[in-house]
Subunit: 340 residues, 4 copies
């Protein structure tokens, strides 16, 4: 059975494995202070066209989210997220477990807007309520949508005005940055947000996220936090070398672009067949509305997620493509759909 | 420069990499619910000669420690550890960050004793103090020593009598189980403790610890905890397949035994040269007392940790061997020492 | 200026102060283990017509809420509350600061319903989300409404079926139990919920809430939690004797009834003048919708809270009566309103 | 039976009760923003001879300790305390429950020394260990001893040099400041430490501690923390007015001095009888070494704490005097002792 369940079903892109094999018997310094991690940081800084950021490699996304939020907020402060936000829904209360409330705003195609953030700010006044201090958003969002440069800039300006920190979860940033409708670069993002991460796990790595701290005041002692939350790997070089491979020659973008193009081909087929989408088609996640009986039949041959009911007879399914999705897999699904 | 700094300088044992490469393009279920993880659990249960344990694969040791302690204690309960214990000294307050006090006992060669535990129990009475509820120990200890079956049994009996949970940190269990003086098996350990883990990171894996929950009452909902602490990897199969490789044909023991035998050769040389040890020679860590000037010279050619001053003119250094330590490396160090 | 701002503007009811004065130089055991606290517990148990509850006196409401929730939930579990719930909105993230998420349901007149709770249960499945385990409600609610016996019973039945704990915040239980429309007794409540508290601060005491733990499994070691959260007062008898005075001869009910009757008189006047209410009139809190200019004028002579805008020209104000509200104060406000 | 168990057995000093009665029916603003609290702050600032401090009234000592430590430390930072320190031993892990480790130093008569603090600093290096950031001490200490101005100054200088915050727990500051050997004033303390509190509970109040934040950078948003930890009392004026009474005309010092003089009389009797002390006689706590059989007999007529065994035949008892200890009570004990 071919799975479109997610973008983390397979191992690592072969280029990554090659580097891993080649360097396997080298003796590295532990805890991320090795030469591979250093080179990876160098390559990423080159993309950002600046030196004055701190980069840390963290094993996974939930861990990165909880690290960022718990390290940069004081105890009485909260983070603002879309109600669909990963930190709100899908992390088993990881943020609250570090002591912080997630205050939510109804999403727009999975996205936050300045107007939504303002509603939270206006309803939080005084010491009997948590103090909003950070905005959390993800690019791509949980619904596969992306932020435009104008949208992200508007949120940045609100953050400046209201003294809020801006954190971008880039678990699927590879796909976001290579969308046809994207107008943001890594450099833009580093200029617009205070802290963000470049997701590896969902874009060809075995594991790992590259956290980039842009704001000077947030940098101090961050490695203590990493250690305290159990996110400092003894063999940190295992993550470092993967980002080295991903950023040495643009592999990161190639993998995102591949996933997107696979998704686009799929989207066209659904569209041609007259099906509609629950969320705008954009990146490597498709949310297709299908009749339930068709979903049942399709589930016997392909793996995917049934997200939600739409009405009595229809539901939304999520199909995800990845760096590892082959033309052959896509062709099989297309053939199946066209044969319906 | 050849490093004896630690046992996590190199990547993974070639057998592990082979399996990783071979299965790289398989589509696996996420979050540790894949076939590799299942097989790895099966192999480990076979070693334990029992089915009724829950096994979870966790990326790292500090994370495993904080997960176990925070999941199994109620808010007012504390864990008892040797003052040298990893959870007390070297985890940046990871345990306290989950809300629990670590109460310490002076160690004996890095080990806890029933008598030491009793001192804690007797000095903690009533609701103005934390309530001791768990005993934490590691095998091998921070000083490379190991617990005998008699010692571990004595602690178990005290735990039974005083209604304490017993947790064994096995970050270096591969080395412990293959020490010449060891009389414990994995099966014994699973019978004697309530929860323990089998360390992969320090015994040939890229990352990963296999947590074994033996006590029925502790099993419920543990995957929620793993997710909440950010320890549930999307590509959980990356850890699962490493333990599959380690336990399919006894590789885990081979690697531990190799590290120990390398350490033993080294120890003999130091002994022959008349140097003494800060801690009993046993597993893959050697604690040698050397003149400071010799340490300075040696540091130019070999990597190792200078642990502590002994007197004005002497210090203790730590030398660690691993699955990856070669005869050649050992020979070079021996030659150097004999040439002094 | 006469204040209808809240029910905690004045000190304590004179009967309480009398007992305080009379016993001032007695030597009491510390930390709530004194004879006054014992007698107060006895009186309360008499009201509950049962012996098998644990009663603890806690200084304040937020503290009681955070103690209950953090003591009875495991780390991955959350509490369900109305979106207007005190624990959700007005405690500066006190619950999250202990590690637990508050999951909310849109309120109905400030109340939770079984249907609302079911929505939460159905949307929380599996280990990537928090696990709903406790229902929090307050009687009276934040909008001054009360639960009927039928309503509370329905929620209890759902809790039984779904294995949820039921916690009733009774900060204003004095007013709730003496509402004209109330059909619950303290005894009923103790039978229907797992844990609740009888509010003193807002019903004539200087400070203090009487927490009643009804469910056997929740009782163990609770005093450790009280101490750990800083809620164990050295002079615990100061709270104990206040509940002694409140429950020796039914003073608690008298004070609640007085506050309610004062509110009812006020409500009639507003009603007669043709004003409408934002929430059903019931207990000692009135939520009146008034023209903004009238609010501005009234604010020069009386203290009250302006809660929220209703439209461009109208807002809701909250008027609260208490055990200490005098006929004279009410008459002055009535006169003012009738004179408009 | 006459109790010398502690200094919180009785209610409040009559002057406090008078003010409470007199103002009982006033309508006060809630949450500590009332006129009584304002006046109390004014009086305290007068003692400190400065305006630029923030003062908050907190119900109890453990709560104040946990508030200060959790509000001013970042997640990876720890507090240094004497091993006998209240935060280390007698608060059921309250500090750890907020996420912070307490690192201890062997005490000298209950006190910390710069040398002891330096040992902690030297043994904590790098991100694998907690980062020492605050020094916690109490005056009087758990053993009734006090800090001299020279001692406190020396610790301050170390804190300046090492960038540490200095926090003084003054639960028994009334007794400390009025010891015959004391050379510190409230003004000195406010100059030497970053934050401290003036204990009310153990010096004549029903409850309450006056927290003084001296360091500008620590002041921001502290009321949010108070609310979050459940320490913001609806009737905050109940604490405010007690400090008003204590500081309007020097009552605070009178009560401390009275307790000390009662203790001194007692000490002389023990001394005359040839008994020795476990800790230097100084403030309102006496630690007398007595034969066990004498302790047993005495326990039938007087209340006190048996602290610890000294040898097979002797133990230390603790006798505490207070503002409420009468000449009569002392005479009875003296008579008893002299009659032995």
């Amino acid at each position: 059975m071919i799975s479109f369940m997610n973008d983390y079903s397979e191992g690592a892109h072969p280029h990554i494995l090659e580097l891993m094999l080649k360097s396997n018997l080298e003796q590295n310094t532990g805890y991320g202070e090795d030469a591979h991690s250093d080179r990876a940081k160098l390559y990423i800084k080159k993309e950002l066209q600046r030196e004055d950021v701190d980069i840390h490699f963290i094993p996974g996304g939930t861990q990165t989210n909880l690290l960022v939020i718990s390290s940069f907020l004081r105890p009485h402060q909260c983070v603002i997220a879309a109600d669909t936000g990963h930190v709100n829904v899908h992390e088993t209360g990881a943020i609250e477990a570090t002591g912080h409330k997630v205050v939510t705003v109804p999403h727009k195609d999975g996205k936050l807007t300045p107007a939504g953030i303002v509603v939270v700010l206006e309803s939080h006044s005084g010491e009997h309520m948590v103090q909003p201090k950070m905005v959390y958003l993800s690019d791509t969002t949980e619904l596969g949508s992306i932020y435009t440069k104008a949208e992200l800039t508007a949120i940045r300006e609100l953050c400046n005005k209201m003294n809020l920190l801006l954190f971008l979860d880039g678990a699927r940033l590879g796909s976001a940055l290579t969308c046809s409708s994207n107008d943001l670069t890594l450099k833009d993002i580093a200029e617009l947000v205070d802290v963000f991460y470049i997701g590896g796990t969902k874009n060809g790595a075995l594991l790992g996220e590259a956290l980039v701290i842009c704001k000077e005041e947030l940098k101090e002692d961050f490695r203590f936090m990493i250690k305290q939350r159990g996110a400092m790997m003894a063999k940190g070089f295992v993550i470092g070398l993967q980002f080295e491979a991903l950023f040495e020659n643009g592999l990161y973008y190639e993998l995102g672009a591949h996933a997107n193009s696979m998704a686009e081909r799929l989207a066209n087929v659904w569209r041609d067949q007259g099906f509609s989408f629950y969320a705008p088609v954009c990146s490597n996640q498709l949310f297709v509305i299908l009749p339930n009986d068709m979903i049942d039949r399709m589930a016997k041959e392909f793996g995917f997620l049934v997200l939600d009911k739409v009405d009595e007879k229809h539901s939304v399914i999520r199909l995800v493509t990845s760096w590892a999705t082959t033309q052959g897999n896509i062709d099989q699904l297309i053939e199946y759909v066209e044969g319906l």
